[in-house]
């Protein structure tokens, strides 16, 4: 069932490319340009996906598997990832879909990200991950929608039914989404449509990935690690590796069809050094945090996982720190 990963990836790549969905921009635009367009796309999608996840889990279609909380990984790893995404010129998903658009800086950033992540997840730097994983906190859930021994969610913290929790969570996000002013932007895909597509694809991804033996939804980091392992060892392509390949293919199709494909190169070659360093920081940070802006911020926050909420806060703080250092000072 690995091919379903490729299918999900292609659809994801098209949505990311058309919707211009980059979390690096979403976090940063609010700070630098007072622009909330992408952040609203995100809060809208996550609220919807949170409800959908619990509904489909209650129907018995999927089992939810939130990532374990890890105070050190979710704070330090996530902060390093946040710093790195600004240097790399995109988050994990942003860099991956821009590879398909012909952004040469993203080619390097993606390779550097994948190589470093593979080094931490099974390579020469795996002692770091082994050391940090000792601090994983797993819980047994009161609700049957969650896999036992996975990470705590808001529903566990407040001791209420996951569906009620998801509705409260979505309501809070949607109050922000619809009761505050949205920055205008002329785009090819309306942010509300992109949000609905993202949430629906998130649930579909979870279902297909579970059938391939991987109980999780959309992600990026694990896919890059798999691609690196396939290239250098006898490892086989798995669901998430196929998904990442699909994103690149989908974004390329979408960019070519929209006449937006172009080999883009910066005039100052030092930019290539910057994105290499940024990609490496992202690979290290995401591996320590247990996921990137998709695994945590999109999928994990939709699960209402404490690990993912904490990681996302530190992705944003890292992003703001580096954005301020590079671009914010007058």
């Amino acid at each position: 069932m690995v091919w379903t990963g490729l299918l999900v990836g292609i659809l994801f790549g098209i949505i990311l490319q058309r919707g211009r969905i980059c979390f690096n921009s979403a976090y940063r635009d609010v700070l630098l340009f007072k622009d909330n367009y992408l952040l609203k796309l995100y809060t809208f999608a996550v609220g919807l996906e949170a409800v959908l996840f619990v509904v489909f889990a209650k129907l018995g279609v999927i089992t939810l598997n939130p990532m374990p909380f890890n105070a050190i990984g979710n704070i330090i790893g996530a902060y390093i990832f946040g710093l790195g995404m600004v240097l790399a010129g995109g988050c994990a998903s942003g860099v991956t879909y821009r590879i398909g658009e012909g952004m040469t800086t993203s080619w390097l950033a993606g390779l550097s990200f994948g190589l470093t992540a593979a080094a931490v997840q099974g390579g020469v730097l795996s002692f770091l991950q082994r050391g940090i994983s000792k601090f994983n906190v797993m819980v047994n859930h009161a609700s049957e929608v969650y896999k036992q021994g996975s990470g705590a969610t808001l529903a566990d913290v407040f001791r209420i039914d996951p569906l009620l929790m998801a509705i409260i969570f979505a309501a809070a996000l949607w109050i922000y989404t619809f009761a505050t002013k949205t920055t205008k932007r002329e785009t090819k895909m309306d942010w509300r449509l992109a949000g609905i597509l993202l949430a629906a694809l998130g649930v579909f991804a979870w279902w297909t990935s579970s059938h391939a033996g991987r109980i999780y939804g959309l992600g990026i980091t694990g896919g890059w690690v798999n691609i690196m392992n396939v290239l250098t060892t006898k490892a086989k392509v798995n669901w998430i590796g196929a998904e990442v390949l699909g994103i690149i293919i989908g974004a390329a199709i979408s960019a070519v069809a929209g006449k937006e494909f172009k080999l883009r190169m910066p005039k100052n070659p030092i930019t290539y050094v910057q994105v290499l360093v940024g990609g490496a920081m992202m690979g290290l940070g995401a591996s320590l945090a247990g996921g990137c802006n998709i695994g945590h911020s999109l999928t994990g926050v939709s699960l209402m996982a404490i690990s993912s909420i904490v990681s996302t806060i530190f992705f944003i703080l890292g992003n703001w720190t580096m954005a301020w250092i590079l671009f914010g000072r007058k």
Partner: protein, 79 residues
């Protein structure tokens, strides 16, 4: 290309996100009222985001001209 009396041309093709946006903001700060800035970009997202940022700062977007495959020139009149 003598459509506008361009005071300054900012070529940010190929730069990583959000360099085009930031350079545009910085250039506008150093310019005088009535002068025209031309921002030359090749990334579609910049074409969508820069005009909105510029407008929110009170400047006038005169035109977004397509000058090649995935290349645009944004003409901005400083307030």
């Amino acid at each position: 290309m003598a459509k506008y009396e361009v005071t300054k041309l900012l070529d940010v093709r190929g730069e990583v996100c959000p360099v085009p946006d930031v350079e545009t903001k910085r250039a506008l700060k150093d310019m005088k009222s009535g002068e025209i800035l031309c921002v030359w970009i090749d990334y579609p997202m910049s074409k969508e985001r820069i005009p909105e940022t510029v407008k929110s700062l009170g400047h006038e977007v005169l035109e977004i001209e397509e000058v090649g495959p995935s290349e645009w020139k944004i003409y901005i009149k400083v307030k």
